[in-house]
């Protein structure tokens, strides 16, 4: 969590509104030989928005981010940041952004301080301003004590925080964050999510790429779901869930659970799909009321006690599975 004197609040210059969208993507396409990684996608991100970009491995998320940040060039279509085309006017477009890549790519041979100073110089931040900003960021991210320590001695969580601090040194108007919490311990994940919220509150537009549906659900104003290079849905998390309400969910837990219980529950009338979530079973059904009755009968016949039952409605994960036709994966893999 950020300190109370966070320098991220009321950052000068970054809350200004333009006539342009923060990000505008039009018919963007990227091909690698015969394979199409991004297939004519279009979307807009408005200034100040926290925009989630979701998709399974290989869906085209990282390719899209790479094009938007200048790491890669599109095969066709266009994209702009605050009206500056990322291919035709890359200098201006990149002055407005910074990136937190999936890999914490601080220079291990440099200290935290040197990494911040190098990034500041690369973005043309004047020395005095850069030093002041670096001090503020190191304090805000709890790294001030480690400012003279080489990054190769940092933990994963500290590296991640440093890379986020490096991405803020030039006061970007748009921040691209690619899987910012992947591979971190729970405490670091919560801390970084809080930072993301604070950054967004301070006026920075955030483009968040994530596999983590819960993260997108609790952080994002809007979410785009990309699958096989095409955008299959863009809306707020709640609207996406509402659109999927024709499939309802029921969660149940019995006092005794075995693999057979899961199979037997799946065979009950009206149950479309069952998945195990820790000590609970999550059931998808068209008729939750009938499903609850069937579960009560099933428990009675098997002498099982229902220790928990709930009808939470569809999660973003259910929407995701419906739209992409894939299960969610907690495994880490190289996205295109």
């Amino acid at each position: 969590m950020l300190c109370s004197d966070s320098p991220l609040k009321g950052v000068a210059g970054i809350t200004a509104r333009d006539d342009f969208s923060a990000i505008e993507v039009r018919e963007l396409r990227k091909r690698y030989g015969d394979m199409t990684a991004v297939d004519g996608i279009s979307f807009r991100v408005e200034p100040g928005e926290l925009f989630g970009f979701l998709g399974p491995n290989g869906a085209g998320k990282t390719t899209t981010v790479n094009i938007l940040t200048g790491v890669s060039l599109p095969t066709a279509g266009s994209a702009s940041v605050f009206g500056h085309d990322v291919v035709k006017d890359p200098f201006r477009a990149r002055e407005a952004i910074n990136v937190v890549p999936e890999v914490s790519n601080a220079y291990p041979e440099y200290t935290a301080w040197s990494n911040l100073m190098f990034t500041a110089s690369l973005y043309g931040v004047h020395r005095g301003e850069a030093e002041q900003r670096a001090e503020e960021l190191l304090r805000a991210f709890g790294l001030h004590d480690k400012r003279k320590v080489k990054v190769k001695g940092f933990s994963q969580g500290m590296r991640r925080k440093l890379v986020i601090a490096m991405a803020l040194i030039n006061r970007p108007r748009v921040l691209f964050m690619d899987e910012p919490t992947t591979g971190l311990d729970v405490q670091s994940v919560l801390s970084i999510r809080e930072m993301v919220r604070d950054l967004n509150r301070s006026g920075i537009t955030i483009f968040l790429t994530t596999h983590n549906l819960n993260e997108a659900n609790i952080l994002c104003d809007r979410v785009a779901i990309i699958n096989r290079g095409k955008i299959v849905a863009i809306d707020t998390p709640e609207n996406l869930k509402s659109a999927a309400r024709r499939v309802q969910a029921v969660e149940v837990s019995f006092d005794r659970m075995s693999p057979e219980t899961e199979v037997e529950v799946a065979s009950l009338a009206g149950i479309k799909e069952v998945s195990r979530r820790g000590d609970k079973l999550r059931l998808l059904t068209d008729d939750p009321s009938a499903a609850v009755s069937a579960l009560a009968r099933f428990a009675g016949e098997r002498y099982l006690a229902i220790s928990y039952i709930n009808t939470p409605g569809p999660s973003l994960e259910d929407v995701f599975i419906q739209l992409t036709g894939t299960g969610t994966s907690t495994s880490r893999g190289g996205d295109r």
């Binding site: 200098f91 952004i97 190098f118």
Partner: protein, 255 residues
């Protein structure tokens, strides 16, 4: 947009950022083992081995030693650093920074150039203090170091543009290119002593021209005119640089 890209303000910004990259590369990569081994130790022992075997006066070989040092040191930084940066994903920092690809490549090249020119001072001092080398034409000597350093650094950048994440791969390719260029040049056997076919081959190596210019600067006779030496070095530098920039852009298009 082109006018803006060529405005003095923009060019000043890009040059400063290229210098930032060069400074960072010098600080990080100068002390890396491949740079020290192939940039400083290897050329020194290579030179010693040849001149001990030849049993000629070492002082005659000092311009050659300076040339080999600049050659190996200048061309070493980019191939040692760039694959490592691709592996650690730090390379993408340049691509998403407000800096054109050409200036990024220039920054990478400057690092090798500064390192090579700085390293050349060591054999020069060894020659002056230990073997009585006299700098008869300081202007030509400086021109030789600057043009040679830039040419060889551009060669290093060209090899570094190879899209590999393994520094060992880039160093292998670099040595595969460097050693033939070294042996076919007029460093170990002077151009006058070479048969005509070998002289023709030597004319292909940029080292021949850097060595020729260095010999002129240190009181020895040259083979080509100094202006031709300089022109060829600059032409090679320009060709290496723009081919490297083209390969970087191609990699970006394909990534």
């Amino acid at each position: 947009m082109i006018a803006e890209a060529l405005s003095p303000e923009r060019l000043g910004k890009e040059l400063r950022r290229a210098l930032v990259i060069a400074g960072k590369d010098i600080r990080i990569y100068c002390l890396k083992p491949p740079v020290l081994l192939f940039g400083l130790v290897f050329p020194f022992f290579l030179f010693l081995a040849f001149f001990v075997g030849k049993r000629g006066p070492i002082e005659e070989g000092i311009p050659g030693l300076i040339c080999i040092s600049v050659f190996f040191a200048s061309s070493n930084i980019a191939p040692a650093g760039m694959p490592f940066e691709r592996m650690t994903k730090t390379f993408s920092r340049y691509l998403s920074a407000p800096l054109s690809l050409t200036w990024m490549v220039f920054g990478k090249t400057l690092a090798g150039f500064f390192f090579g020119v700085a390293v050349s001072v060591i054999p020069l001092l060894v020659g002056i203090i230990g073997y009585g080398t006299s700098v008869t034409s300081p202007g030509l000597l400086i021109l030789a170091l600057l043009a040679g350093g830039m040419c060889f650094s551009c060669l290093g950048t060209l090899v570094g543009s190879m899209p590999t994440e393994a520094p060992g791969n880039a160093m292998t390719v670099l040595n595969f290119v460097r050693l033939p260029l070294l042996f076919m040049s007029g460093i170990f056997v002077t151009l006058e002593e070479m048969p005509a076919w070998a002289r023709g081959l030597a004319a292909v190596s940029p080292l021949t021209y850097a060595n020729d210019l260095l010999r002129r600067g240190t009181g020895f006779a040259g083979y080509y005119g100094w202006w031709l030496d300089l022109l060829v070095l600059l032409l090679y530098a320009t060709a290496f640089f723009f081919i490297a920039a083209w390969i970087f852009n191609l990699s970006r298009r394909r990534s």
